[in-house]
Amino acid sequence: MPRWGLVIDLDRCTGCQACVVACKHENNVPLSTSAVAAAGRLMTWMQLVPVEMPGRAAPTALPLMCQHCDRPPCADVCPTGATYLNPEGIVAQIYPRCIGCRYCTNACPYGVKLFNWTAPEWPESMAGMQNPDVSLRPTGVVEKCTFCHHRLMQAREQVAAEGRELAAEDYVPACVQTCPAEAMSFGDLDDPHSEVASLASSPRAFRWMEELGTKPKVVYLREGE
């Protein structure tokens, strides 16, 4: 059983936000307006946050999304089992089970679980650009990064049809696929031959807020020498 993980090399990352747009379009995350932004209710599964890093003069732009913790605090507090750690290490969110109590949004130390205060809206003319592989989330539920889990399901169907094993390039989240600086890698952390496993053991590797014991599966490689 794979244990999916993501490695982001902050030395390569330029902070261009291509990953942010890729995520929004891939996962039907609604567009915003200035009023939504002013109310602090921007929906972005992935966003850049400024963080102070030792040895860096300027704050580093850290691409932050669900860290898919091996010990997810959000799953611990969910009263309905709507959010849970699935056997492949993805922290999953089942929208029909979510009652919108927002315990998980409070429990998550990363602030990456987003509550739908309103129903997602697009202008009528834009309905066609919604990805049919990803469901729309109604008012009153929590949503977040899924590691583009729908792409995994599609890849599984594809390789089954072709009668072969799943290869690393068959399943790549949208953010990783588009990253212009080639700063992101995705794969099975438990496969010692995978690129992510090798990068995750780099001396530059760290996990965000790992001191909390959440055991994230998003690994960052620090900037600098």
């Binding site: 330029t14 261009c16 200035s34 850049l48 946050v49 704050p59 850290l62 003319s125 212009p180």
Partner: protein, 731 residues
């Protein structure tokens, strides 16, 4: 077949003689490298169709995911040699243009007064007749029509130029941020009238004078891929980046060291570094001795004029730092000095001179010359727009190919007001905005995924590329490609216009280009990285294979893959040219310290009332050619979290003196006007400089563009933006 014997032919024939050598040890090494490259697919999966991003001059290949005949998502085309499947934020946002709810639904003519926004829908035949009658009426007048569009190269842009030239119009373009703009400095030093190619990926140390490497430099996706590899690549040590930039740009944020210098101070520092390299004999002796030219004279001048103490006083950088930078730059194996595409000529000259001192020409991690000569020079739209604003010209017909003239911050404060003096305005933009609101006739164009494409990509090391593609979808609305519209008008006009425009549709122009390219018998359709590398090796060995395809097969291959690329360039070109013309021709460093000092202190008399010098900048999100891409507004002011509004960057000292912090709202007041912005405090900026993000305000534009209510142009007094001084008021 051409009777002339070109340089390329020479290499072709001599290459075949040398094939045995090149495919010896050297060839094997390169093929081993090619083998290591991600080979990737050599064709696109069925669900995806190739198209071209037209948001900037990079012309990256994109692929559009089609579900039940509807476009769902845009990603990078893995066959495109520029991005190899990677794509920037603006490129991906392109799909929002197709679905935009505020697009014009078809041709229309104005019924109310100008600016009232009252329109009547008309047919394309009526629209053609209106424009033709207007243009036939201008022949007798002396007021030449003026046609403006965003700079683009290729048959579609050529078609536009041919039509308007035949109508005796002046054709001008809003400039693209490509290396073409750096040609003059490169030509002066080397004598080669080609575009310089910066091999960022293989540099070991980059000293960048304002080059937005992590943002929009030359060809943004290429630049970012190169940056990633420059930083970290297996088997190589980490590349070090020093950014000299007036503000803490995204590139400065990424740099190992950021020096906050205004553009004039950057010239002083560049020559100051050259002086130290010369004084301490740290230049690349092998290169400089072989291609000396007027090097000795340059060194003498620069050493005499740019004394370290004086450079330090003018830039505020300690002498010890300047000495260290000069020594670092000259001590690394493959240093590169980069420069912004819109840098002043003085800075460009200084940067190319520094590159010569460190022997950066024709070596990995340095600068190469593009393989082919660029098309003829094109006129910058700034000139004619200023002439209209000043009342010096009053065109009988003003044609706007897109909204670019309106949105660029570097132009006059309100081009729309200036444009009102034109007798007749025709807009080809797919949207209503400030300019098309003033127009008399609207002839909306398709959005990119509905269009035919044949666009020459900005020159970067992957080689010469022409992005070609057929429409991915049928037009959603009653729009038409400007090439087709103009062909109809030309036929209605007859005479020279009809003779100059023999095509009927944009497709004709694209197919014509593919025939021309096919006849060149070089390069090939976009393909995997491995096969492109293989093609390069074959061409370097003198084996030019692409002529074996039938024209139809060639056309299908290029359109199916999304473009044509010729990776060949001769990496001894600059050195052989320098040999032939007796070495380098350095421009005189002049008395720049005095000039810079004058510029620095010129407006200090205005100090009390307007204490800060205003610098206006654009980011990758704010400079998108199309303002109707809503997702980009969310990306503004990140990661500090200032989406959907313009922000102003100020130094820590300035913030303290005003008692404000990041997130506060201030009014930026200039002698010419005022606007409000959100504060972003940046430690390390010069305290007398404030940097304002230019986010175009288009109150007559689409629903998203309308949300930005004021922009930096409101602050412009008569004269250039660079001279504007401001004060900040707490709100």
């Amino acid at each position: 077949m051409s009777a002339s014997f070109s340089r390329r032919d020479f290499f072709t024939y001599s290459g075949s003689v040398l094939a045995g050598i090149t495919l010896g040890e050297w060839g094997r090494r390169h093929l081993a490298r090619a083998d290591a490259l991600a080979s990737g697919p050599s064709r696109l999966p069925a669900e995806w169709a190739p198209s071209v991003c037209r948001d900037c001059a990079a012309a990256c290949g994109i692929r559009v995911r089609m579900v039940d005949g509807a476009p769902v998502k845009v990603e990078g085309n893995p066959l495109c040699p520029i991005g190899r499947g990677r794509l920037c934020a603006s490129g991906q946002a392109g799909i929002e243009a197709y679905y935009d709810p505020d697009r014009l639904i078809g041709p229309a003519k104005r019924t109310g007064a100008r600016g009232e926004n009252r329109w009547t829908a008309i047919t394309w035949d009526e629209a053609t007749a209106i424009l033709a009658s207007r243009l036939s009426g201008t022949r007798a007048t002396e007021r030449r029509p003026l046609a403006i569009g965003m700079e683009e190269r290729g048959p579609l842009a050529d078609g536009w130029t041919k039509f308007w030239t035949a109508c005796d119009a002046r054709v001008a373009w809003t400039p693209a941020q490509t290396s073409a703009r750096l040609r003059a400095g490169f030509l002066a030093l080397t004598g080669i009238d080609r575009e310089p190619l910066f091999d960022l990926e293989h540099a070991t140390y980059v000293l960048s004078f304002g080059a937005p490497i992590a943002e929009t430099w030359l060809s943004p996706v290429w630049a970012q891929r190169s940056f990633g590899r420059f930083r970290r690549q297996a088997g190589r040590s980490r590349g070090r980046l020093v950014q000299v930039d007036a503000r803490r740009s995204a590139t400065a944020r990424k740099a190992d060291e950021w020096l906050a210098l205004t553009p004039e101070q950057q010239v002083v520092l560049a020559y100051g570094l050259a002086a130290i390299i010369a004084r301490e004999s740290r230049g690349n002796r092998q290169f400089l001795d072989r291609f000396a030219g007027n090097h000795a004279e340059f060194e003498r001048d620069v050493v005499r004029t740019y004394l370290p103490d004086e450079v330090s006083a003018l830039t505020g950088i300690p002498v010890v730092t300047i000495l260290r930078l000069a020594r670092e730059l000259s001590a690394t194996t493959q240093p590169l000095v980069a420069v912004a595409a819109d840098a002043s000529r003085e800075l460009t000259d200084a940067v190319f001179a520094l590159n010569a001192l460190v022997g950066a020409y024709d070596r990995p991690g340095g600068i190469y010359a593009a393989a082919t000569a660029p098309p003829d020079g094109i006129e910058d739209a700034a000139g004619p727009i200023e002439a209209i604003a000043a009342g010096r010209i009053r065109p009988a017909v003003l044609a706007l190919r897109d909204g670019s003239a309106l949105r660029r911050s570097s132009l006059v404060e309100r081009p729309d007001a200036a444009f009102a003096s034109a007798d007749f305005i025709v807009s080809f933009s797919p949207y209503l905005d400030e300019t098309s609101t003033l127009a008399d006739l609207l002839l909306p164009a398709h959005t990119p995924i509905e269009s035919w494409h044949a666009v020459r990509a900005a020159a970067v090391p992957p080689g010469e590329a022409i992005a070609c593609a057929a429409p991915v979808v049928k037009p959603r609305l009653d729009t038409r490609d400007p090439a087709e519209t103009l062909a109809h008008v030309a036929r209605a006009l007859g005479g020279p216009a009809a003779a100059a425009c023999p095509w009927t549709t944009a497709e004709d122009l694209v197919i014509g280009e593919l025939e021309r390219v096919g006849q060149m018998r070089r390069g090939g359709a976009y393909t995997s990285a491995y096969e492109t590398e293989w093609l390069l090796q074959l061409e370097k060995g003198g084996w030019w294979t692409s002529g074996s395809q039938t024209p139809q097969a060639f056309r299908q291959a290029v359109l199916g893959a999304g473009g044509w690329v010729d990776p060949f360039f001769q990496d001894g070109e600059i050195r052989s040219t320098l040999d032939a013309r007796h070495g380098l021709t350095f421009s005189s460093p002049g008395a720049a310290p005095a000039i810079a000092a004058a510029a620095l202190h010129a407006s200090s008399s205005a100090g009390a009332q307007f204490p800060y010098r205003l610098l206006i900048f654009e980011t990758s999100a704010s400079r998108a050619a199309d303002p109707n891409l809503p997702v980009l507004y969310e990306l503004l002011g990140q990661p500090e979290g200032i989406p959907w509004q313009p922000w102003v960057e100020i130094a820590g000292e300035t913030a303290r003196s005003l008692g404000i912090d990041t997130g506060a709202k201030v009014k930026v007041v200039s002698p010419g006007g005022a606007m409000s912005a959100i504060v972003m405090v940046v430690h390390g900026m010069q305290p007398d400089v404030v940097a304002l993000a230019h986010v175009p305000a288009l109150p007559e534009g689409g629903r998203w563009a309308r949300e930005i209510r004021s922009d930096s142009r409101q602050l412009m007094a008569a004269g250039s933006a660079a001279a504007t001084r401001v004060r900040l008021e707490r709100v």
